[in-house]
């Protein structure tokens, strides 16, 4: 069955943790847009939500850092952050789809690790808060190391994305796909809070034009 919904969205924790730091009109407009995406997701009536996101030291440390990890649990708890202003919840998983995806990856030339116990941080809980607020749709998390070197190349991530798209479109389930991250940002670094507008615009144009050269 074709993928019934797909979007990419930011998971910046300030959206819930420091909402008041943005001008109210701007924050309201942005969050309205996020909730509208949630309405479109619900209207697509997905059976499962596959969420592609990144590691932030929630589950993995330098003693073992996978390039890619697919969660296979029947539920996930989060958020891990005390300060996120999102209530702690238990998110249902879809271990059957997780197992099918893992088998497909290993057959298809990708070797993700798997985990039967993952904690969710803002990268998953914040988008869910707006897109799947009742946590009614089970989630399969796909976590990428974009945190610490060495990390998978953009080319490899792109190839995995194409592969997952093809596999999920063959699933009997109605699958929604959500990829979360951010445009230019330096969280916790000395440039914390700054953005690179020209890079962001170029990136969004490239995404819209489906230009695959870089």
């Amino acid at each position: 069955m074709p993928i019934v919904f797909a979007c990419a969205a930011s998971h910046a924790p300030g959206m819930t943790a420091w909402t008041e730091a943005a001008p109210k009109e701007q924050a309201d407009r942005f969050l309205r847009g996020y909730r509208k995406l949630g309405e479109r997701l619900a209207a697509a009536k997905p059976d499962t939500l596959v969420m592609i996101t990144v590691e932030h030291w929630a589950n993995f440390f330098l003693n073992h850092m996978p390039a890619f990890c697919i969660g296979r649990a029947d539920h996930y708890d989060g958020p891990v952050e005390e300060w996120l202003r999102i209530p702690k919840s238990r998110v249902p998983g879809d271990p059957q789809l997780s197992a099918a995806l893992l088998d497909a990856c290993l057959d298809g030339g990708f070797d993700p690790t798997f985990s039967d116990e993952l904690l969710f941080d803002h990268a998953t809980m914040l988008p869910l808060h707006f897109l799947n607020p009742n946590l009614a749709v089970p989630v399969v998390p796909v976590i990428i190391n974009t945190l610490t070197t060495p990390m998978p190349t953009p080319k490899r991530c792109f190839a995995l994305g194409q592969f997952l798209g093809r596999e999920l479109a063959r699933s009997e389930k109605r699958v929604a796909l959500v990829a979360t991250g951010g445009l230019s940002h330096w969280p916790g670094e000395a440039k914390h809070g700054k953005i690179n507008v020209s890079f962001d615009q170029k990136f969004l144009e490239t995404l819209k034009s489906r230009d695959q050269r870089d």
Partner: protein, 84 residues
């Protein structure tokens, strides 16, 4: 330098409520469980943001650690001023 051990301490405090509680009750004792230099121990006990950053603690370990200490975005930026 024992950056791995220093980051491990921060990771444990950020992510594990039992470690966090032990750290909050007795930071000076807690740091002794890790193989740290005197400089690293002092940076943790004093929550010296600039020192922890320059010692190499990953920014996404350091910022959540400072949030546990209720350090605002403004004070965090001040602590790192000039390091860009």
């Amino acid at each position: 330098m024992s950056l791995y051990q220093l980051q491990k301490l921060v990771y444990h405090v950020n992510r594990d409520p039992s470690y966090r509680e032990s750290y909050r009750q007795n930071p000076a004792g807690f740091v002794k469980s890790y193989e740290l230099s005197a400089e690293e121990e002092a940076a943790v006990v004093n929550v010296d943001v600039r020192k922890l950053y320059t010692l190499g603690v990953h920014s996404l370990l350091l910022r959540p650690f400072t949030l546990l200490h209720k350090i605002s975005n403004e004070d965090y930026a001040k602590a790192l001023a000039g390091l860009e």
